[in-house]
Symmetry: C2
Subunit: 251 residues, 2 copies
Protein backbone atom coordinates (compact mmCIF):
# COMPACT_ATOMS: atom_id res chain seq x y z
CA UNK A 1 0.00 0.00 0.00
CA UNK A 2 1.48 3.30 -1.03
CA UNK A 3 -0.92 5.75 0.62
CA UNK A 4 -2.00 6.74 4.15
CA UNK A 5 -5.10 5.01 5.46
CA UNK A 6 -7.60 7.57 6.72
CA UNK A 7 -11.15 7.85 8.02
CA UNK A 8 -13.66 10.23 6.40
CA UNK A 9 -15.99 12.34 8.55
CA UNK A 10 -19.47 13.77 7.90
CA UNK A 11 -18.10 17.24 7.11
CA UNK A 12 -16.12 16.18 4.04
CA UNK A 13 -12.87 15.80 5.99
CA UNK A 14 -10.52 12.87 6.39
CA UNK A 15 -8.37 11.90 9.39
CA UNK A 16 -5.04 10.03 9.54
CA UNK A 17 -4.54 8.42 12.93
CA UNK A 18 -1.10 7.72 14.47
CA UNK A 19 -1.54 4.00 13.85
CA UNK A 20 -1.62 4.65 10.10
CA UNK A 21 1.75 6.42 10.01
CA UNK A 22 4.47 4.27 8.35
CA UNK A 23 7.67 3.57 10.29
CA UNK A 24 10.07 5.45 8.05
CA UNK A 25 10.10 9.14 7.12
CA UNK A 26 10.85 8.31 3.50
CA UNK A 27 7.79 6.06 3.26
CA UNK A 28 5.73 8.82 4.92
CA UNK A 29 6.76 11.42 2.34
CA UNK A 30 5.91 9.10 -0.53
CA UNK A 31 2.59 7.96 0.97
CA UNK A 32 1.57 11.52 1.84
CA UNK A 33 2.19 12.65 -1.74
CA UNK A 34 0.10 9.81 -3.17
CA UNK A 35 -2.63 10.35 -0.57
CA UNK A 36 -2.97 14.05 -1.38
CA UNK A 37 -3.65 13.13 -5.01
CA UNK A 38 -6.26 10.57 -3.97
CA UNK A 39 -7.96 12.94 -1.49
CA UNK A 40 -8.17 15.66 -4.11
CA UNK A 41 -9.78 13.23 -6.54
CA UNK A 42 -12.26 12.28 -3.81
CA UNK A 43 -13.09 15.98 -3.23
CA UNK A 44 -11.96 15.80 0.41
CA UNK A 45 -12.23 19.32 1.86
CA UNK A 46 -9.92 19.17 4.89
CA UNK A 47 -7.19 16.71 5.98
CA UNK A 48 -6.35 16.04 9.65
CA UNK A 49 -3.20 14.23 10.80
CA UNK A 50 -2.32 13.48 14.42
CA UNK A 51 1.42 13.24 15.10
CA UNK A 52 2.46 11.72 18.45
CA UNK A 53 5.51 13.36 20.09
CA UNK A 54 7.52 10.22 19.38
CA UNK A 55 7.07 10.87 15.63
CA UNK A 56 7.88 14.62 15.80
CA UNK A 57 10.48 14.18 13.04
CA UNK A 58 7.54 14.05 10.61
CA UNK A 59 6.46 17.62 11.48
CA UNK A 60 8.91 19.48 9.21
CA UNK A 61 7.77 17.25 6.34
CA UNK A 62 4.14 18.19 6.96
CA UNK A 63 4.89 21.91 7.21
CA UNK A 64 6.68 21.58 3.88
CA UNK A 65 3.52 20.02 2.41
CA UNK A 66 1.48 23.02 3.58
CA UNK A 67 -0.03 21.61 6.79
CA UNK A 68 -0.60 23.98 9.72
CA UNK A 69 -0.90 23.41 13.47
CA UNK A 70 -4.45 23.09 14.77
CA UNK A 71 -4.05 22.06 18.41
CA UNK A 72 -1.89 19.89 20.63
CA UNK A 73 -2.15 17.93 23.81
CA UNK A 74 0.66 16.67 26.06
CA UNK A 75 1.55 13.84 23.73
CA UNK A 76 0.54 14.83 20.23
CA UNK A 77 0.09 17.57 17.67
CA UNK A 78 -2.95 17.76 15.38
CA UNK A 79 -2.24 19.28 11.99
CA UNK A 80 -4.63 20.24 9.25
CA UNK A 81 -4.62 21.11 5.56
CA UNK A 82 -7.46 22.76 3.63
CA UNK A 83 -7.89 21.14 0.20
CA UNK A 84 -11.04 23.04 -0.82
CA UNK A 85 -10.87 26.82 -0.82
CA UNK A 86 -13.06 28.31 1.92
CA UNK A 87 -13.69 24.94 3.64
CA UNK A 88 -14.47 25.42 7.32
CA UNK A 89 -11.78 24.40 9.80
CA UNK A 90 -13.47 24.58 13.22
CA UNK A 91 -11.38 26.67 15.61
CA UNK A 92 -9.84 25.08 18.69
CA UNK A 93 -10.62 26.25 22.22
CA UNK A 94 -9.72 29.90 22.87
CA UNK A 95 -11.26 30.36 26.32
CA UNK A 96 -10.31 29.69 29.91
CA UNK A 97 -13.05 29.77 32.57
CA UNK A 98 -12.52 31.15 36.06
CA UNK A 99 -15.04 31.02 38.89
CA UNK A 100 -15.58 33.19 41.96
CA UNK A 101 -17.67 32.28 45.00
CA UNK A 102 -19.83 34.97 46.58
CA UNK A 103 -20.44 33.64 50.09
CA UNK A 104 -22.49 35.67 52.58
CA UNK A 105 -23.08 34.54 56.17
CA UNK A 106 -26.02 35.30 58.46
CA UNK A 107 -24.19 38.35 59.90
CA UNK A 108 -24.16 40.04 56.48
CA UNK A 109 -20.48 39.39 56.03
CA UNK A 110 -18.81 38.45 52.74
CA UNK A 111 -16.08 35.80 52.51
CA UNK A 112 -12.98 37.50 51.02
CA UNK A 113 -9.35 36.60 50.40
CA UNK A 114 -6.11 38.31 49.45
CA UNK A 115 -3.88 36.28 47.14
CA UNK A 116 -0.17 35.89 47.84
CA UNK A 117 0.69 36.68 44.21
CA UNK A 118 -0.99 40.11 44.42
CA UNK A 119 -0.18 41.19 47.96
CA UNK A 120 2.75 43.41 46.93
CA UNK A 121 1.28 44.97 43.80
CA UNK A 122 -2.36 45.20 45.01
CA UNK A 123 -2.29 45.04 48.82
CA UNK A 124 -5.99 45.95 49.18
CA UNK A 125 -7.26 43.41 46.64
CA UNK A 126 -9.90 41.73 48.86
CA UNK A 127 -11.73 39.48 46.43
CA UNK A 128 -14.05 36.49 46.27
CA UNK A 129 -12.27 33.15 46.68
CA UNK A 130 -12.08 31.26 43.39
CA UNK A 131 -9.86 30.12 40.56
CA UNK A 132 -9.73 28.33 37.23
CA UNK A 133 -11.90 25.34 36.41
CA UNK A 134 -10.08 22.03 36.29
CA UNK A 135 -10.25 20.30 32.89
CA UNK A 136 -13.80 19.00 32.26
CA UNK A 137 -15.11 20.37 35.56
CA UNK A 138 -18.60 21.84 35.94
CA UNK A 139 -18.90 25.45 37.16
CA UNK A 140 -21.01 24.49 40.18
CA UNK A 141 -18.44 21.93 41.29
CA UNK A 142 -15.43 24.13 40.53
CA UNK A 143 -16.58 27.13 42.56
CA UNK A 144 -17.45 25.00 45.61
CA UNK A 145 -14.05 23.26 45.33
CA UNK A 146 -12.10 26.52 45.04
CA UNK A 147 -13.82 28.12 48.05
CA UNK A 148 -13.15 25.00 50.10
CA UNK A 149 -9.48 24.82 49.03
CA UNK A 150 -8.71 28.48 49.65
CA UNK A 151 -10.66 29.06 52.86
CA UNK A 152 -11.84 25.61 54.11
CA UNK A 153 -15.41 26.99 54.12
CA UNK A 154 -17.95 24.39 53.01
CA UNK A 155 -20.78 25.70 50.85
CA UNK A 156 -23.75 24.73 48.77
CA UNK A 157 -24.74 26.24 45.43
CA UNK A 158 -27.32 29.04 45.39
CA UNK A 159 -27.25 30.81 42.00
CA UNK A 160 -25.25 32.13 39.07
CA UNK A 161 -24.93 35.91 39.49
CA UNK A 162 -23.05 37.16 36.44
CA UNK A 163 -19.78 37.13 34.57
CA UNK A 164 -17.05 39.12 32.88
CA UNK A 165 -15.59 38.34 29.46
CA UNK A 166 -12.32 39.70 28.06
CA UNK A 167 -9.55 38.76 25.66
CA UNK A 168 -6.43 39.52 27.64
CA UNK A 169 -5.79 36.15 29.27
CA UNK A 170 -2.46 34.34 29.57
CA UNK A 171 -1.10 32.75 26.37
CA UNK A 172 -3.33 35.02 24.22
CA UNK A 173 -6.51 33.33 25.45
CA UNK A 174 -9.90 34.87 26.17
CA UNK A 175 -11.35 34.49 29.66
CA UNK A 176 -14.75 34.21 31.29
CA UNK A 177 -14.85 34.88 35.04
CA UNK A 178 -18.17 33.69 36.43
CA UNK A 179 -19.45 34.49 39.92
CA UNK A 180 -21.80 32.16 41.75
CA UNK A 181 -23.54 32.80 45.03
CA UNK A 182 -22.96 30.05 47.58
CA UNK A 183 -24.51 29.43 50.97
CA UNK A 184 -21.94 28.79 53.73
CA UNK A 185 -22.35 25.56 55.69
CA UNK A 186 -19.39 26.32 58.00
CA UNK A 187 -17.88 29.57 59.31
CA UNK A 188 -14.31 28.91 60.49
CA UNK A 189 -11.69 30.02 57.98
CA UNK A 190 -8.44 28.15 57.42
CA UNK A 191 -6.42 29.56 54.53
CA UNK A 192 -4.60 27.62 51.81
CA UNK A 193 -1.01 28.56 52.75
CA UNK A 194 0.41 28.10 49.24
CA UNK A 195 -1.80 30.64 47.44
CA UNK A 196 -3.68 32.78 49.97
CA UNK A 197 -2.12 35.56 52.08
CA UNK A 198 -5.14 36.01 54.35
CA UNK A 199 -8.93 35.71 54.37
CA UNK A 200 -11.74 37.21 56.41
CA UNK A 201 -15.48 37.75 56.70
CA UNK A 202 -15.81 41.32 55.39
CA UNK A 203 -18.92 43.30 56.53
CA UNK A 204 -20.97 43.88 53.37
CA UNK A 205 -21.60 47.57 54.05
CA UNK A 206 -17.89 48.23 54.53
CA UNK A 207 -17.10 46.28 51.35
CA UNK A 208 -19.53 48.34 49.28
CA UNK A 209 -18.32 51.63 50.80
CA UNK A 210 -14.60 50.86 50.36
CA UNK A 211 -13.25 52.88 47.42
CA UNK A 212 -10.22 50.65 47.06
CA UNK A 213 -12.32 47.55 46.33
CA UNK A 214 -12.69 46.55 42.66
CA UNK A 215 -15.73 48.00 40.89
CA UNK A 216 -16.67 44.71 39.26
CA UNK A 217 -16.77 42.89 42.59
CA UNK A 218 -18.89 45.64 44.16
CA UNK A 219 -21.35 45.56 41.26
CA UNK A 220 -21.64 41.77 41.44
CA UNK A 221 -22.25 41.93 45.20
CA UNK A 222 -24.93 44.60 44.78
CA UNK A 223 -26.62 42.53 42.08
CA UNK A 224 -26.57 39.42 44.28
CA UNK A 225 -28.14 41.36 47.17
CA UNK A 226 -30.99 42.62 44.96
CA UNK A 227 -31.66 39.69 42.61
CA UNK A 228 -31.88 35.95 42.88
CA UNK A 229 -29.66 35.08 39.88
CA UNK A 230 -29.79 32.17 37.44
CA UNK A 231 -30.49 28.70 38.82
CA UNK A 232 -28.86 25.39 37.90
CA UNK A 233 -31.70 23.71 36.00
CA UNK A 234 -32.16 19.98 35.53
CA UNK A 235 -33.53 18.79 32.17
CA UNK A 236 -34.23 15.05 32.59
CA UNK A 237 -33.42 13.12 29.43
CA UNK A 238 -31.70 16.07 27.77
CA UNK A 239 -28.33 14.35 27.47
CA UNK A 240 -27.43 10.69 28.12
CA UNK A 241 -26.70 11.49 31.77
CA UNK A 242 -27.65 14.43 33.98
CA UNK A 243 -23.97 14.50 34.96
CA UNK A 244 -23.05 15.41 31.37
CA UNK A 245 -24.19 19.03 31.46
CA UNK A 246 -25.22 22.01 33.58
CA UNK A 247 -27.72 24.63 32.46
CA UNK A 248 -28.13 28.01 34.16
CA UNK A 249 -31.21 30.19 33.68
CA UNK A 250 -34.05 31.82 35.61
CA UNK A 251 -36.61 29.07 36.22
Amino acid sequence: MNYLNSTNNQYGGTYVSPKNLPDSSAAFVSQLKESLTIWQTQKIKVVWIKIPNARAKLLPLLYQAGFINHHCDLNFMMLTLRLEEGAVIPPFAKHTIGVGGLVINDNNELLTVREKDHIKTHPHNWKFPGGMLDPYEHIEHGVIREVLEETSIQTEFHSFIGFRHHHQGQFSTSNIYAVCRLKPLTLDITIQESEIFDAKWFPIEDYLADEKIGKYNQQILQSALKHSGLKNINLPGYMPSDQDYEVFMTP
Copy 2:
Protein backbone atom coordinates in the same frame (compact mmCIF):
# COMPACT_ATOMS: atom_id res chain seq x y z
CA MET B 1 27.81 32.26 25.13
CA ASN B 2 27.01 28.64 25.81
CA TYR B 3 23.50 28.90 27.24
CA LEU B 4 20.03 29.98 26.08
CA ASN B 5 19.09 33.56 26.87
CA SER B 6 15.76 33.66 28.64
CA THR B 7 13.42 36.09 30.41
CA ASN B 8 12.23 35.41 33.95
CA ASN B 9 8.59 36.04 34.92
CA GLN B 10 6.94 36.97 38.23
CA TYR B 11 5.83 33.37 38.90
CA GLY B 12 9.34 31.92 39.10
CA GLY B 13 9.33 30.81 35.48
CA THR B 14 11.69 31.58 32.61
CA TYR B 15 10.94 31.90 28.88
CA VAL B 16 13.15 31.22 25.86
CA SER B 17 11.92 33.16 22.83
CA PRO B 18 12.50 32.03 19.20
CA LYS B 19 15.07 34.78 18.71
CA ASN B 20 17.26 33.16 21.36
CA LEU B 21 17.44 29.78 19.62
CA PRO B 22 20.89 29.11 18.08
CA ASP B 23 21.09 28.26 14.38
CA SER B 24 22.35 24.70 14.72
CA SER B 25 20.72 21.75 16.46
CA ALA B 26 24.07 20.70 17.97
CA ALA B 27 24.53 24.14 19.55
CA PHE B 28 20.93 23.97 20.84
CA VAL B 29 21.50 20.63 22.60
CA SER B 30 24.65 21.89 24.25
CA GLN B 31 23.14 25.26 25.27
CA LEU B 32 19.97 23.60 26.58
CA LYS B 33 22.02 21.26 28.79
CA GLU B 34 24.05 24.14 30.23
CA SER B 35 20.92 26.28 30.68
CA LEU B 36 19.08 23.57 32.62
CA THR B 37 21.97 23.49 35.12
CA ILE B 38 21.90 27.28 35.46
CA TRP B 39 18.08 27.44 35.83
CA GLN B 40 18.18 24.76 38.53
CA THR B 41 20.82 26.74 40.43
CA GLN B 42 18.60 29.83 40.12
CA LYS B 43 15.61 27.87 41.52
CA ILE B 44 13.58 28.46 38.37
CA LYS B 45 10.29 26.56 38.77
CA VAL B 46 9.05 26.21 35.17
CA VAL B 47 10.77 26.63 31.77
CA TRP B 48 8.89 27.76 28.65
CA ILE B 49 10.30 27.47 25.12
CA LYS B 50 8.56 28.64 21.96
CA ILE B 51 9.53 26.71 18.81
CA PRO B 52 8.49 28.23 15.47
CA ASN B 53 7.40 25.70 12.82
CA ALA B 54 10.54 26.49 10.83
CA ARG B 55 12.61 25.08 13.74
CA ALA B 56 10.45 21.96 14.28
CA LYS B 57 13.59 19.77 14.06
CA LEU B 58 14.33 20.90 17.63
CA LEU B 59 11.14 19.30 18.99
CA PRO B 60 12.45 15.71 19.31
CA LEU B 61 15.46 17.08 21.22
CA LEU B 62 13.15 18.87 23.68
CA TYR B 63 10.93 15.82 24.20
CA GLN B 64 14.11 13.87 24.95
CA ALA B 65 15.01 16.47 27.59
CA GLY B 66 11.60 15.98 29.25
CA PHE B 67 9.69 18.94 27.81
CA ILE B 68 5.97 18.53 27.10
CA ASN B 69 3.57 20.34 24.76
CA HIS B 70 1.61 23.19 26.32
CA HIS B 71 -0.18 24.85 23.41
CA CYS B 72 0.37 25.79 19.77
CA ASP B 73 -0.75 28.38 17.31
CA LEU B 74 -0.56 28.26 13.52
CA ASN B 75 3.14 28.99 13.45
CA PHE B 76 4.64 27.79 16.70
CA MET B 77 4.58 25.25 19.52
CA MET B 78 5.01 26.27 23.17
CA LEU B 79 6.70 23.64 25.32
CA THR B 80 7.19 23.57 29.04
CA LEU B 81 9.26 21.75 31.66
CA ARG B 82 8.57 21.70 35.40
CA LEU B 83 11.85 22.03 37.36
CA GLU B 84 10.28 22.30 40.84
CA GLU B 85 8.00 19.49 41.93
CA GLY B 86 4.39 20.66 42.23
CA ALA B 87 5.05 23.99 40.49
CA VAL B 88 1.88 25.33 38.85
CA ILE B 89 1.72 25.19 35.05
CA PRO B 90 -1.39 27.22 34.13
CA PRO B 91 -3.63 25.20 31.83
CA PHE B 92 -4.26 26.36 28.29
CA ALA B 93 -7.74 27.17 26.96
CA LYS B 94 -10.14 24.19 27.10
CA HIS B 95 -13.40 25.93 26.15
CA THR B 96 -15.15 26.99 22.99
CA ILE B 97 -18.03 29.49 23.26
CA GLY B 98 -21.14 29.31 21.12
CA VAL B 99 -23.94 31.88 21.06
CA GLY B 100 -27.62 31.65 20.19
CA GLY B 101 -29.91 34.57 19.44
CA LEU B 102 -33.46 34.48 20.83
CA VAL B 103 -35.30 36.96 18.61
CA ILE B 104 -39.04 37.57 19.11
CA ASN B 105 -41.05 39.91 16.90
CA ASP B 106 -44.17 41.92 17.76
CA ASN B 107 -46.44 39.07 16.54
CA ASN B 108 -45.07 36.74 19.24
CA GLU B 109 -43.05 34.78 16.72
CA LEU B 110 -39.59 33.36 17.33
CA LEU B 111 -36.83 33.50 14.70
CA THR B 112 -35.75 29.88 14.02
CA VAL B 113 -33.48 28.09 11.57
CA ARG B 114 -32.74 24.54 10.45
CA GLU B 115 -29.07 23.88 9.67
CA LYS B 116 -28.02 22.08 6.49
CA ASP B 117 -25.65 19.81 8.45
CA HIS B 118 -28.51 18.47 10.59
CA ILE B 119 -31.38 18.34 8.12
CA LYS B 120 -31.02 14.60 7.44
CA THR B 121 -30.28 13.37 10.97
CA HIS B 122 -32.56 15.85 12.84
CA PRO B 123 -35.11 17.17 10.32
CA HIS B 124 -37.22 18.91 12.99
CA ASN B 125 -34.30 20.70 14.67
CA TRP B 126 -35.76 24.24 14.56
CA LYS B 127 -33.31 26.20 16.67
CA PHE B 128 -32.16 29.73 17.45
CA PRO B 129 -29.76 31.16 14.86
CA GLY B 130 -26.21 31.32 16.21
CA GLY B 131 -22.74 29.88 16.06
CA MET B 132 -19.25 29.97 17.50
CA LEU B 133 -17.57 33.19 18.60
CA ASP B 134 -14.81 34.39 16.32
CA PRO B 135 -11.41 34.64 18.05
CA TYR B 136 -11.40 37.56 20.52
CA GLU B 137 -15.03 38.46 19.79
CA HIS B 138 -17.43 39.70 22.47
CA ILE B 139 -20.62 37.70 23.08
CA GLU B 140 -22.88 40.67 22.34
CA HIS B 141 -21.19 41.27 19.01
CA GLY B 142 -20.96 37.57 18.09
CA VAL B 143 -24.64 36.81 18.56
CA ILE B 144 -25.77 39.85 16.56
CA ARG B 145 -23.30 38.90 13.79
CA GLU B 146 -24.45 35.26 13.64
CA VAL B 147 -28.15 36.16 13.46
CA LEU B 148 -27.42 38.65 10.68
CA GLU B 149 -25.26 36.16 8.73
CA GLU B 150 -27.70 33.26 8.97
CA THR B 151 -31.01 35.10 8.49
CA SER B 152 -30.15 38.70 7.43
CA ILE B 153 -32.27 39.90 10.37
CA GLN B 154 -30.77 43.00 12.02
CA THR B 155 -31.06 43.11 15.79
CA GLU B 156 -30.03 44.99 18.90
CA PHE B 157 -28.98 43.42 22.20
CA HIS B 158 -31.57 43.02 24.94
CA SER B 159 -30.27 40.60 27.61
CA PHE B 160 -28.31 37.46 28.48
CA ILE B 161 -30.84 34.70 29.20
CA GLY B 162 -28.80 31.66 30.23
CA PHE B 163 -26.34 29.05 29.10
CA ARG B 164 -25.43 25.38 28.89
CA HIS B 165 -22.02 23.92 29.79
CA HIS B 166 -20.75 20.47 28.81
CA HIS B 167 -17.52 18.65 28.08
CA GLN B 168 -18.29 16.81 24.87
CA GLY B 169 -17.12 19.35 22.31
CA GLN B 170 -15.05 18.69 19.19
CA PHE B 171 -11.35 17.94 19.75
CA SER B 172 -12.00 17.01 23.42
CA THR B 173 -12.94 20.60 24.31
CA SER B 174 -15.58 21.82 26.74
CA ASN B 175 -18.30 24.12 25.45
CA ILE B 176 -20.48 26.95 26.70
CA TYR B 177 -23.55 27.75 24.61
CA ALA B 178 -24.96 31.10 25.67
CA VAL B 179 -28.34 32.45 24.62
CA CYS B 180 -29.02 36.17 24.37
CA ARG B 181 -32.34 37.84 23.72
CA LEU B 182 -32.21 40.29 20.82
CA LYS B 183 -34.74 42.78 19.55
CA PRO B 184 -35.40 42.54 15.80
CA LEU B 185 -34.91 45.74 13.80
CA THR B 186 -35.96 44.11 10.51
CA LEU B 187 -38.37 41.28 9.66
CA ASP B 188 -37.54 39.92 6.17
CA ILE B 189 -35.55 36.69 6.28
CA THR B 190 -32.87 35.84 3.73
CA ILE B 191 -31.00 32.65 4.62
CA GLN B 192 -27.25 32.02 4.42
CA GLU B 193 -27.22 29.43 1.61
CA SER B 194 -23.98 27.76 2.69
CA GLU B 195 -25.07 26.73 6.20
CA ILE B 196 -28.82 27.16 6.61
CA PHE B 197 -31.49 24.89 5.08
CA ASP B 198 -34.41 27.18 5.90
CA ALA B 199 -35.56 29.72 8.47
CA LYS B 200 -38.90 31.06 9.62
CA TRP B 201 -40.76 33.07 12.25
CA PHE B 202 -42.18 30.29 14.47
CA PRO B 203 -45.29 31.17 16.57
CA ILE B 204 -44.15 31.00 20.20
CA GLU B 205 -47.12 28.98 21.41
CA ASP B 206 -46.56 26.36 18.71
CA TYR B 207 -42.85 26.23 19.54
CA LEU B 208 -43.52 25.60 23.22
CA ALA B 209 -46.20 22.99 22.47
CA ASP B 210 -44.11 21.09 19.89
CA GLU B 211 -42.83 17.87 21.44
CA LYS B 212 -40.13 17.47 18.81
CA ILE B 213 -38.43 20.76 19.76
CA GLY B 214 -35.36 20.53 22.03
CA LYS B 215 -36.08 20.80 25.76
CA TYR B 216 -33.24 23.21 26.39
CA ASN B 217 -34.48 25.64 23.75
CA GLN B 218 -38.03 25.49 25.13
CA GLN B 219 -36.80 26.16 28.69
CA ILE B 220 -34.69 29.08 27.55
CA LEU B 221 -37.64 30.57 25.65
CA GLN B 222 -39.94 30.17 28.67
CA SER B 223 -37.34 31.83 30.89
CA ALA B 224 -36.94 34.73 28.46
CA LEU B 225 -40.72 35.26 28.37
CA LYS B 226 -40.97 35.40 32.16
CA HIS B 227 -37.73 37.16 33.20
CA SER B 228 -35.68 40.07 31.96
CA GLY B 229 -32.25 38.34 32.03
CA LEU B 230 -28.79 39.72 32.71
CA LYS B 231 -27.85 43.10 31.22
CA ASN B 232 -24.58 44.15 29.59
CA ILE B 233 -23.20 46.50 32.26
CA ASN B 234 -20.72 49.31 31.67
CA LEU B 235 -18.11 49.93 34.37
CA PRO B 236 -16.35 53.18 33.37
CA GLY B 237 -12.65 53.04 34.20
CA TYR B 238 -12.71 49.34 35.01
CA MET B 239 -10.25 48.38 32.28
CA PRO B 240 -8.12 50.65 30.06
CA SER B 241 -10.91 50.79 27.47
CA ASP B 242 -14.62 49.99 27.69
CA GLN B 243 -14.05 47.97 24.51
CA ASP B 244 -11.78 45.59 26.43
CA TYR B 245 -14.49 43.72 28.35
CA GLU B 246 -18.18 42.93 28.67
CA VAL B 247 -19.90 42.24 32.00
CA PHE B 248 -23.33 40.62 32.29
CA MET B 249 -25.42 40.81 35.46
CA THR B 250 -28.78 42.03 36.76
CA PRO B 251 -28.39 45.79 37.32
